[in-house]
Symmetry: C2
Subunit: 273 residues, 2 copies
């Protein structure tokens, strides 16, 4: 069976990078779970002795601490440094960017609006870098904010949708003389969807790999299902030989929390059918 | 008859200011017509000997030249200075602002997009202050531009509508990492409309003064007509006494090119009915 991988699938750039960093630092620990995939976290523990701190107070002197893709707050970073921890920064560069923007815009006396979820670790981290910073999860929350300056700079949580960000900008640009819009939204999720749509139009059967509860994996399944016969599996054990009867080509994609090694196992199993 | 003026009517701030400046400079000339109202230009000529240059080549050494509200290009300003003309700047401050923004953003290596009409004198002037500047009259024209930088700064012609400006910003913020939106739209036109709507709800009759061909005056007429009996006149000679039979209060508003002295004449005539 010929197997074709989608042009974009599975982990995003930032997560892949963080896993590589973790693999390069044996006997370390991540501050919070590195990704939302228990199999991958077990693998890092078993193969590289990369442990997990649930709370910053767990960190001991001289520990090697990996900051996960979401980043952490400025205060937490200072606390780690006070503990003399060796800090390995695996913050996604797409998250470091809004952190730096918030820092610089604050210095230039802009009030800052973050489009995101107040409780999201990424947003907590980004927010901590500025002085007059407000978080809004949608346009209705704009009425609750009271910026100190009449110049506004905006960033968005990397996983937000652009059209919702636009709505907020439209409301702000009517009210303020200057709105400095930084597009910090990451295309990874949408790239996986576009690639799945494209590939599923070319193949006889499509396999989507990811947790059965993963909403972004289910989304990929619905997109592919419209174009060709599609199956959603968690790993190669679920493959059924009969699916491939009279099929010549098989497309493969995977949700954003699916490790590459699971995808590779699935691809090899299909090739051998 | 009790006469009530709308809270906002007639000339905008910038035009009123330019006329005062012209009145303070007898024996000067304006570069292009100061406003689109021939009666007012005649009055300035007759009462203050303020003449009119149709072209910059008409300017002679040591002439006193008034720059009108729309502003002029950087090159034209330099030409005037080379002629040793005494330059009196009546550019509306709301137009000077985008000129300065374009200048500063160019220095900071932003590409600049002006939302406006390429042929409008205000836009020509604003554009001349920057290096990598593009004019788009609507969202479809964005596909024709090729900015040098990936950081974009935007300004709008002062008389444009905000919702159309928003459409352009929405398209830009998806494409570029940073879009610095300067809200340079002036509310004067919309303020006259809102004030006319408000006043016409309170009075028994409404008089709208302005050129019969003036589109913004006609717009005021349509707004008032919905609320009360309304007449559109050019000056006090058109008033008809019978309109005011059994009426107690009369509201007055005027289009954006109607001089104050015409409005005052109308008000006095109504009061005497």
């Amino acid at each position: 069976m010929e197997v074709k991988l989608a042009k974009s699938y599975g982990f995003c750039f930032g997560v892949k990078r963080a896993i590589e960093i973790a693999e390069q630092h044996k006997n370390s620990a991540t501050m919070g779970p590195l990704i939302h995939n228990k199999k991958e976290i077990s693998r890092l523990k078993n193969d590289f002795n990369v442990d997990l701190y649930e709370d910053i107070s767990d960190v001991k002197h001289n520990d090697t601490v990996i900051i996960r893709t979401h980043g952490i707050t400025k205060n937490d970073l200072q606390t780690l440094k006070k503990h003399d921890a060796k800090v390995i920064n695996a913050t996604c560069p797409f998250v470091t960017t809004p952190q730096q923007i918030v820092k610089n815009m604050s210095k230039e006396n802009y009030s800052i609006i973050i489009f995101g979820d107040e409780e999201h670790p990424e947003v907590k981290g980004v927010k901590s870098y500025g002085e007059d910073v407000f978080v809004v999860k949608d346009i209705t929350e704009l009425k609750n904010i009271n910026p100190k300056f009449d110049k506004i700079a905006t960033v968005a949580q990397t996983t937000k949708q652009k059209d919702h960000y636009s709505e907020i900008i439209n409301a702000l640009m009517i009210k303020y003389k200057e709105v400095r819009v930084f597009n910090t939204i990451c295309d990874a999720t949408f790239e996986n969807q576009a690639a799945a749509d494209e590939l599923s139009k070319e193949v006889d059967i499509m396999i989507v790999i990811g947790g059965k509860n993963s909403s972004n994996t289910k989304q990929l399944f619905y997109i592919c299902e419209k174009n060709t016969k599609t199956y959603h599996i968690e790993d190669e054990k679920e493959l059924d030989k009969s699916w491939f009867d009279n099929k010549n080509s098989c497309g493969v994609t995977a949700g954003a929390s699916t490790p590459d090694w699971i995808i590779q196992n699935v691809c090899k199993a299909i090739e051998n059918i």
